[in-house]
Structure formats: C-alpha cells, structure tokens
Amino acid sequence: MSKTHPDVASPPSFDEVFAALPPVGSPEYLERLRTASTQELPPEVLARAYRQLAGEDDEAARATLARLLGERKGRPEYLGTVLWHATRRVPRHQHWQEALDLFQDAVALVIEVLPTERGRYAERAWRSFCYQRLIDAWRRRQGRRGERAESRRVEPAADEDAEALDPLDLAEDLPPWHAAVRPDKLPWLEELVGRVVAGVADPFVRAVAEDQWLSGDPSPISGARTSAGGRKPLTRRYGKSRFQVYRALNAARARLFAALATQNEVEVDLEALRTKWSASALE
C-alpha cells in the first residue's frame, strides 16, 4: 500500500504566468496555446487572456476559447469538474443526454459571462466561476430551487415490492475507507472520521455522515426498507429527496477524503479511495 498524497500545487502565480506569455495575439502566443501543457497554462491565465482579447482579435480570441473549452486525452481539459457536477445534478434514471445538455448550457453561459465584469472571477478561480454558471444553467432548467426536477422524482412507496429495490437505496454496508488502511489503524481512522464529521458545518451533511459512518446501524438511503435496527430511510427521516441525500453523502466523502489526503500520520491508499468515490454515488 502506498502513501499517495496528491501533489500540492505551488502557490499560484497567475500574474507571473500571464506576464510570461508572449503578447496576446502574436504568432508566438498562438504557438504557446497549441503546445503548452495544462499545468503550464492554468485556466485562470487563459481566462484573463481571453478577456483581454474578446472583441479585439477574433482569431486569437477564438484560439484561446478553443483551448479553454477544449479537450485533452478525450476529456474536457479545463471543464472536468463542470461535467462531473452536471452528472450529479441529473438523476440517474434520466438519460445521460440531460447531463450533457446541462453541461452544454453551462458552457454557453461561461462564454456569455466571461467578457463581463463578473468574468473577473474566472481569472482567479476558474472552477468556481464555471460552477456558478452550471448552477445558473440548472436553475434555468429546473427552477431556482430545483422544483421541477423534484416534482419529477418519484420516491418508492412504503409498500413497494421489496424485491424491486434499487441497490442505490441501500446504505453503504461497510465504510469503504476500511480497505484503504491497515487493520491496526482502524481506531485511528475512526477517530479521524468522527473529528471530520463533527467539523462539518452543514447540519444535513453532518447528519448523513453520522448515520452512514458512525451510527453502527446505517439507514437505507431511500426506499421502503429499514435498517437492521429499524432506522427509517434517510429520505423519509429528513424529508429530502434521494438526490439531496446523495449530494450530502458526496460532500461528506469529499471532506473526509481531504482530511485523509492532508494528514501525515498513516499511510492511506488515497487514489483507490478517490477513484471509488469520485465515480460512485451517481444518482
């Protein structure tokens, strides 16, 4: 088992990276756009260049935008988190096309807002700028608080055939992080989990994490069944949709993963854990 802390980035120096660019619009600049790696060209720097070029130099602006919204190895180079969020905003039983439509709407809003004053945020924090555009796009589709999406979701009724239970209704039967550390470190891990969960400031996220990880009797997420100890599904207990419960669980997982990634006491197989969690809990 390897200790695989993610690389900690150097402090950002977007000003320096930006200043080191060839003059925007020059042939050298266009060449840099073609050849520089993702690490060499942070999205914040590209956003700043684009904001300067937009409306001034169509060719260079177009090339900058193509890089910013383009791909690397078959994945969106700078929009990976936007696509990830889009998949989490669309219920699993709906077609993937809806997630792609939402992603596309968010990209359109990125283009629309980037040249404006609010686009300044993209020069400093690209992912949060894009996330806001995704939320804007989602609200346009679903209503400000997702009313239209919520109304389309059908929660299983209490007397529904238990054999038809969706696996995602079930609680996590074994906290997955147990496989990421040596057995003799489990007490340490459980103490860390307790500390992290207690520090979560959102009451619902905290309650879901406590239930699933610390209660010893995790509730089903949704559906008709109860836990072994008779606990009702989280959707019923909190009056939330399955979608909302999963978002809360994802948030708790991310917070715990962050704590595991930044500690130096115990070796943790972080990549295995992240791979499992980042791809799981798709509604």
Binding site: V8, P12, D15, F18, A19, L21, P23, V24, Y29, R48, Q52, A54, G55, E56, A61, R62, L65, A66, L69, G70, E71, G74, R75, P76, L79, G80, T81, L83, W84, W96, L100, Q104, V107, I111, E112, L114, P115, T116, R124, A125, R127, S128, F129, Q132, I135, V200, A201, D202, V205, R247, N250, A251, R253, A254, A258, T262, R274, W277, S278, A279
Partner: protein
Amino acid sequence: MATAAHSLDELLAQTERAWLDRRDAGTVDRLAAEHPEHAEELYAFFSGLVFGDVEGAVPGELAQEAVERTRAWLDEEGFERAREAARQVPPTFVRFLQRRTRQDPETIARRISDVSWEFLAQVSRHPALVPRRVREELASRIARHWSIPAAESLRAMASSGPVPRAASRRRPYPPPPSTFEELLASSSLTAAQRSLWAGLAASARA
C-alpha cells in the same frame, strides 16, 4: 459576513484557492459555518474540487461525447455567440484605440508620443482621475495621427472603466491610484513625460 452581490462567487473562490493552493479543507467548514445560507452549495462545490477532475470521475464515453458536442457547438454557434457577447461589453479606451488604429500597443504609444502603453491603460481604467485638459490633449494627438475625431476619443475615455490586465505585464499589479499624480507615477513614464502631463493638469487647475 458576505453581503456583496457576488458573495457566493467570493466564497466559492476562497474555497477553491484554499484547496488547490494550500490543500486547506478547513476553509470550506469555516465559510459554511459563517454563511449557513450557502453551506449546501459550498460543500457541493468542494466535492467537485476533490473528486470531479480525476480520470474516471465520469464515464469515458460521456466525457468523449461532451468533448465532441462542445467542439461541434463551438463551430456551429459558440464562437459567434462568444463574439457577440464580447461586443455587448462596453469598449474601453485602449480597446477603442486598438480597434480603430489596428496597431499594436507599443506602436500606438510611440506614435502618440510622450506616453507609454501603461499610461494609456491607466487612463482607460481610471478616466475620472484624468483632468479634462489631459484627455483633450490625448484626443488631439490621436486625431492628428489617425484622423480619428477627437470627440470619439473623448467619448471612449469617458466610457472606460476597469479593464483586464495586460498580458505583457511583467509584475503583479499595485493598488489602484487615487490621484492623477499617482496614476502618472504608476505609468512607466520618464521623468520628462511625467512632468509634461503633470504640468498640463496643473495648468488646467490654475
């Protein structure tokens, strides 16, 4: 407390920079506690920072389709929409100069004479600090070199405001000037050039 119109923007940006720059996950807890009305969004966003940008976070086929759709959409309408969106933003003075002269910044500054591109950019950012006599002199020189009516240049200066930073900048930006003298001091002018424009400003005040 965040009270500005873009407060969630700011909180999300702080969360992002804390995690990406310092691997600081405590910031999201702190901000969520201070701003419970945004707690849900902050944690949702944070989960994307942690899990959303790694290989396998979304199925490969979905990622590929997103890439292809975006490329096709950009070609079909996205680039045009981007151009249109940029046109909606009021032009700045420096953009006005580049658009009308079709020359690069250094050439524009050299032809106007006694100015640097930084000076013109500062005039563009902070038109309220620039005395009318200075603006008129600039407009007059621009009219002389490119036959652009002075009234147009004056209008462009009047409509300017904060602008994106220049890519050719070699160092981080200092705090914005609060007087015309500070503006001159931050404009990479020679002493003689500073003296010329300061004198013009003083003559207008006299």
